[in-house]
Symmetry: C2
Subunit: 164 residues, 2 copies
DNA sequence: TGTTATGTTAAATACATACTGAACGTTTTG
DNA sequence: CAAAACGTTCAGTATGTATTTAACATAACA
């Protein structure tokens, strides 16, 4: 443990790193966010490097991702041309943005694949026996139903409010 | 592409595999689920191996995980002692179970860490200047507020209904 | 203008872990 | 009871990708 770090803070950083890592987002992201969250004043890339024992390149990349999720914010410190960052603490919004980025694109992909599949099936481009075609159509319809359902759930006023 | 597979089914299998992989859950899980979802009749481990070009060991492990999430179901086929599986299609429930397993444990961990942290801080076990301690307390309180909030959100009747 | 400070990028590396293959225990079959 | 059929497990390997390193571009400085 770096000796310049509050022992409690260190444990939160460890946990956060493990969490983000287990979600396939990389360990540094969680570490940096926790580090900033428990920093009384803004920190620079070099500060993160020294505080966490990571490379500056890692810090640069991770901070950009966090910025995209609205999890951290660049702040301007007069008299210093380094970039300073602080953690934003609107967890709901952050989670929403992260989810949106991770599943949003895939949702669109499935939508088009689904549309294409139904088209091919109806146009008779796929030759198969009637039973098989009927089964496929049933599955595709069920998928489309779920797709519509998830859209509605995501856009429901309640969820939008809660993830504000 | 294995030639015994419907071309459309193959594309869904690919997509599903990519999705689960990007979520850090492994590619085979998505592949098997899609394979079963588009199979008119139950399939065995050997069927998955042949249909997807994976090892039987992989299939065994992945199927167990899927079973734990309630995503697949063992079915009994008379006259055959192989284990047969079908895909269950209650997506909401499946997602709920998966999330529960993935974040549930971590939630508990944070809860205890949080409690321990507050305890240490209040008992004066950590020596630090007053400003620093006040800041830490504020952060810990904010975390605890979020923890309570997420509990409520997760247990809200609305969400419970939607993820049924 | 040359020099230093800073953030970014791309190639190389390291790392975590998903997956394979073979061996094992169990159950069925003949 | 022997032999085959299954499912499972675990050590080893392969694979994807997170992270580092070093070179680069840009902007401030003196």
């Amino acid at each position: 443990m770096p000796d310049n770090l509050h022992p409690l803070v260190y444990r939160f950083i460890e946990d956060a790193g493990n969490t983000t890592q287990s979600f396939g987002v990389g360990r540094v992201i969680g570490q940096i966010y926790a580090f900033l969250y428990f920093s009384p004043s803004p920190e620079t890339l070099d500060g993160m490097r020294d505080g966490l024992g990571i490379s500056k390149g890692s810090a640069s990349i991770a901070v950009r991702q966090l910025e995209q999720w609205g999890a951290v914010q660049k702040v301007w410190v007069k008299g210093d041309r380094k970039d300073y960052y602080t953690a934003k603490d609107a967890f709901g919004k952050i989670i929403k943005n992260a989810i949106l980025e991770m599943v949003g694109k895939k949702m669109g992909d499935y939508e088009s694949l689904l549309a294409e599949a139904r088209e091919q099936l109806e146009s008779g481009a796929i030759e198969d026996d009637a039973d098989r075609i009927a089964f496929m159509q049933e599955r595709l319809e069920h998928l489309q139903k779920f797709q519509r359902w998830s859209h509605q759930l995501w856009n429901s006023p309640m969820l939008q409010t809660l993830l504000k």
